[in-house]
């Protein structure tokens, strides 16, 4: 594993390019966990709070967020080079290219085996249904989207017990691929499994799985990067028959990562929600017992599911449209026969560990101290203007007040209070100015006619 990090520190694939970032606050305002602050003129992500949803990257007008990835040349260290990708990958390509042409380009790139992660999705669905017999919590919540799993861990601790203890399709595909290759005589240490990720969340999850000891995948590939490479290599005509690689793919499998992909298959009383801000609103209600009885909840961080993943190219709605057409050409999962004796073995490997809550929003382990801090936050809030302007480098007044009691910010960080203090001659102008520089960086005050902010860029 190349990107693999040690387990004590939360790994995130999303990084800020401090050369490009100019502290415009768009990301800070949109982050669902209030994980971003502006320090020294650039966005800084709180490692504990970030759930890898990628909304900051989407909101950035300066293209300052990037996703870490493995170097593709690493595949050459393996005799059997397996590429695993979710079906949405195919959905990005215009209809003028057949799936066969795309598959050929992947072989041309150096891969020896190709598996879409959703084959054989039937095993995973079976396994999820098994779990519903073992666990009495309702609704069960899908473990598919890693951003949602992490969101629940930190924001909705009471709901962690509802999360299905099963791994994701890429784990299924990886184990399935290994068993298939072994059947053909390959040795396990000669197999390199490379997963093409649609998002930062899956990247982080593959590198540091939440509910398993270690990941089965050898390396992670950025889907955007792969798309560009394939576009260069794609042949004008299909030259060979690659359909054998797709023989276990089913209609339901292709739709799995789209909205209702899982819930439509699970049936019973199930519901699907996409878009992390929609999910947040729903989970609030669920936690309050304000929703009717539901058996299964499918939650996806991106609107339009993985078709809206941050590493996809093109328009998410077009991708969904293409995938729906593609799915209609494939047989139903029940009709796909998988002649592989390893089913029980693979199913066993899909069982994940229990997901534990992470109490990152706790103010203090000592309760009386925590209450004191809460009181202080309320007192501070009385003083702040309540504009949520972000001029302090925090997403809103409340967040600044919380930062203050944690010792990470001070009253004068609020630009309004600072002005008031200046008038009351409680702070010196030099000191006030320095403080602003500390948050917004020195360059913020240099005249620059080419700066990116202030011109509605990115809209």
């Amino acid at each position: 594993m190349f990107l693999l990090m040690n387990n004590n520190k939360k790994y995130h694939a999303l990084k800020v390019d401090t050369q490009k970032c100019f502290g415009c606050t768009h990301c800070m305002k949109i982050c669902p966990t209030e994980a971003i602050r502006i320090v020294n003129g650039v966005a800084v992500i709180d490692n504990q709070r970030c759930v890898d949803c990628g909304n900051c990257l989407r909101a950035c007008p300066a293209d300052a967020f990037y996703v870490e990835q493995d170097d593709l040349s690493k595949i050459n260290n393996y005799k059997h080079r397996v590429v695993l990708f979710p079906s949405v990958f195919i959905g990005q390509f215009s209809e003028i290219y057949s799936e066969g042409q795309i598959y050929e380009a992947l072989l041309e790139l150096g891969f020896t085996h190709i598996f879409e992660v959703e084959q054989p999705a039937g095993w995973l669905m079976e396994s999820i249904k098994d779990f519903s017999g073992e666990n009495t919590h309702r609704p069960l919540i899908s473990s598919f989207c890693p951003a949602i799993v992490r969101l629940i861990q930190c924001k909705y601790p009471s709901l962690t017990a509802h999360i299905v203890r099963r791994k994701a399709p890429h784990d299924l595909a990886a184990h399935f691929a290994i068993e298939q290759l072994k059947k053909e005589g390959a040795k396990e240490d000669e197999i390199g499994i490379f997963y093409v990720s649609p998002c930062s969340a899956k990247m982080a999850a593959v590198n540091q799985p939440v509910a398993e000891k270690e990941s089965i995948v050898t390396g992670v590939i950025n889907m955007k990067d792969l798309y560009n490479r394939i576009m260069k290599l794609i042949p004008t005509k299909e030259k060979m028959d690659t359909s054998g690689f797709r023989r276990y793919l089913s209609r339901e499998g292709i739709l799995w990562s789209l909205p209702r992909g899982e819930s439509a298959w699970y049936r019973k009383k199930s519901m699907a929600i996409d878009g992390i801000h929609n999910v947040v609103k729903f989970l609030e209600r669920l936690e309050n017992d304000e929703v009717p009885e539901i058996d299964f909840l499918e939650l996806k961080s991106c609107s339009e599911g993985c078709a809206g993943g941050i590493l996809l190219t093109g328009n998410r709605f077009l991708t969904v449209e293409r995938l729906q057409k593609r799915a209609a050409r494939y047989p139903k999962a029940a009709q796909v026969e998988v002649e592989n004796a390893a089913k029980e073995l693979v199913k066993k490997k899909l069982v994940a560990d229990e997901i534990k809550p992470e109490h990152i929003f706790v103010l203090d382990q000592n309760r009386s101290k925590a209450i004191e801090k809460l009181q202080k936050i309320n007192d501070i809030l009385c003083q702040l203007p309540g504009l949520d302007c972000g001029g302090c480098g925090a997403p809103n007044c409340h967040a600044l007040a919380e930062d203050m009691v944690k010792g990470k910010a001070k009253m004068t960080d609020c630009v309004f209070l600072q002005n008031k203090y200046l008038k009351e001659q409680k702070v010196k102008p030099e000191k006030a100015y320095k403080n602003l520089e500390k948050i917004w960086g020195k360059q913020r005050f240099e005249a620059d006619c080419n700066k990116k902010g202030g011109r509605n860029e990115g809209f």
Partner: protein, 139 residues
């Protein structure tokens, strides 16, 4: 030491019922109160909020979040409750047809509050209003 949280509720305003319980929930999470306990309080507060929206003209929620327990007082000006014993019965409801059509008024609210709290006190005066007070210990 306890922290005081205050909210107002308007009669008929179902879309805002749930705001007080959500805010109280956030505070309890910051105090690291056990999830099971949080859930009980939140359910109780929500039911009390809905009762103001469904049966009264206006009201307010006052929560005292302390080190060992939380005490919640929901007072309203409204019609009051004629027979508290009857109102406590599961399934008993005077909710209007409109309220029931919105999915409320199953007659489980007060019983639900009782089930989820350690102490429940209902003071009411017909024609004036109702104050529902309940508390729950964390341990």
């Amino acid at each position: 030491m306890a922290i005081e949280l205050n909210f107002t509720i308007e009669g008929g305003d179902f879309s805002n019922a749930g705001k007080a319980s959500s805010k109280i929930k956030k505070v309890l999470k910051q105090l690291n109160i056990e999830a099971k306990i949080i859930k009980k309080i939140v359910v109780a507060v929500y039911e009390a909020e809905v009762n103001v929206a469904a049966h009264a003209y206006s009201g307010n929620v006052k929560a005292l979040v302390g080190e060992n327990d939380v005490v919640v007082m929901v007072s309203d000006s409204g019609p009051g409750i004629e027979n508290v014993e009857l109102a406590m019965k599961e399934g008993y409801s005077t909710a209007s047809k409109e309220v029931r059509e919105m999915g409320f008024g199953a007659g489980m609210g007060l019983a639900n509050i009782k089930r989820n709290t350690d102490e429940l006190k209902i003071e009411t005066k017909v024609g004036e209003g109702t104050t529902v007070t309940f508390s729950l210990n964390y341990s």
